[in-house]
Amino acid sequence: MIFNTGAALLDAIVLAVVAKEKQGTYGYKITQDVRQVLEVSESTLYPVLRRLQKDECLEVYDMECAGRNRRYYKLTEKGEAQLRLYKIEWKNYASKIKMLFEGGTVN
């Protein structure tokens, strides 16, 4: 992975991963899914999840699973709105870079 992943992009990726499951997912699974896309250290993701939770983009609930407690993260309405915003920003950003790399006019 050559390009650095900024904080906002990391937030967007985590939101997108959590959004894939309607009922939400748990920390370990989120980490595995993100690591399929990005090479991030496993310890990078906890602060991101925590920050998104404090910003009320994610909510948590606990569920008993095989005798243990499992904490699930789920997108809030604010989180969904934030993700939509990120997706639009990404489209703009990516298309500009694409035009720059592939020639043609840069607006």
Partner: protein, 237 residues
């Protein structure tokens, strides 16, 4: 290093952060180890890095958050340091973030100024109308607070009176036991009842003053904060 040593070391390194934050972080990583399973324990430790690294990311995030919270209250977003914070931790690409913050601030300015001026003029012109209402509301508030205060003092006084009276009753009745045993015993019972009711009232008063009122004040403060925060919250993208 095994899981237990890892988690113990992590707990030690996080000792300076608030207990709730620490508990959340430790629970997260304990769950993580559980999910990975015992067979993957070594691999997880490899991938997490050292407890020092894990603690460092958590600590810098906690510091960053309280710093941002303070700044949010007093500085305008244009000073740009919010982005610099992120740059520090994540090696951020600055151009896009700065651009974004800029447009958000400009849009806000464009919308409010003419409306704000109009609002101020209207307020000044209608002064005689609303000053009466405001004064009345203020009076009501003072009245309510006064009544509350009176009730608390009244109940407090009653509590003291009941306990004192009850104790006195018991004491006198004890001296009378030899003379009129049945009556004395009954009086002791009554005295005890008085003391009990008095203590209950005292407890109620203490609870109200010590617990419920501070809680109410906190709730009101958090409402006010939320209202003033919402106006600033729009800057965060």
């Amino acid at each position: 290093m095994n899981r237990q040593e890892f988690m113990n070391r992590l707990e030690y390194l996080l000792r300076s952060i608030p207990e709730e934050e620490r508990a959340d972080a430790l629970a997260y990583y304990n769950d993580y180890f559980d999910e990975a399973g015992i067979e993957n324990e070594y691999q997880v430790i490899q991938e997490l890095g050292s407890p020092e690294q894990v603690a460092q990311t958590i600590l810098s995030n906690v510091q960053q958050e309280s710093f941002n919270r303070i700044r949010q209250d007093y500085c305008s977003p244009e000073e740009g340091s919010k982005n610099t914070e992120k740059e520090h931790t994540y090696e951020y690409t600055t151009t896009n973030e700065n651009w974004n913050a800029h447009t958000v601030v400009e849009e806000k300015k464009k919308m409010s100024t003419p409306i704000k001026v109009l609002l101020i003029i209207v307020i000044i012109l209608t002064f005689p109308l609303w000053i009466g209402v405001v004064g009345g509301l203020f009076g009501v508030l003072v009245g309510i607070l006064g009544a509350l205060f009176g009730i608390i003092v009244g109940f407090g006084g009653a509590a003291i009176g009941l306990v004192a009276g009850g104790v006195a009753c018991i004491l006198v009745s004890i001296t009378q036991i030899a003379v009129v045993p049945a009556v004395a015993l009954a009086s002791i019972g009554v005295g005890a009842l008085l003391v009990a009711v008095g203590l209950l009232l005292a407890l109620l008063v203490t609870l109200t003053v010590g617990v419920w009122i501070p809680k109410l004040v906190k709730v009101i403060i958090s409402w006010v904060k939320r209202i003033t925060h919402r106006e600033e919250g729009g800057n965060e993208i």
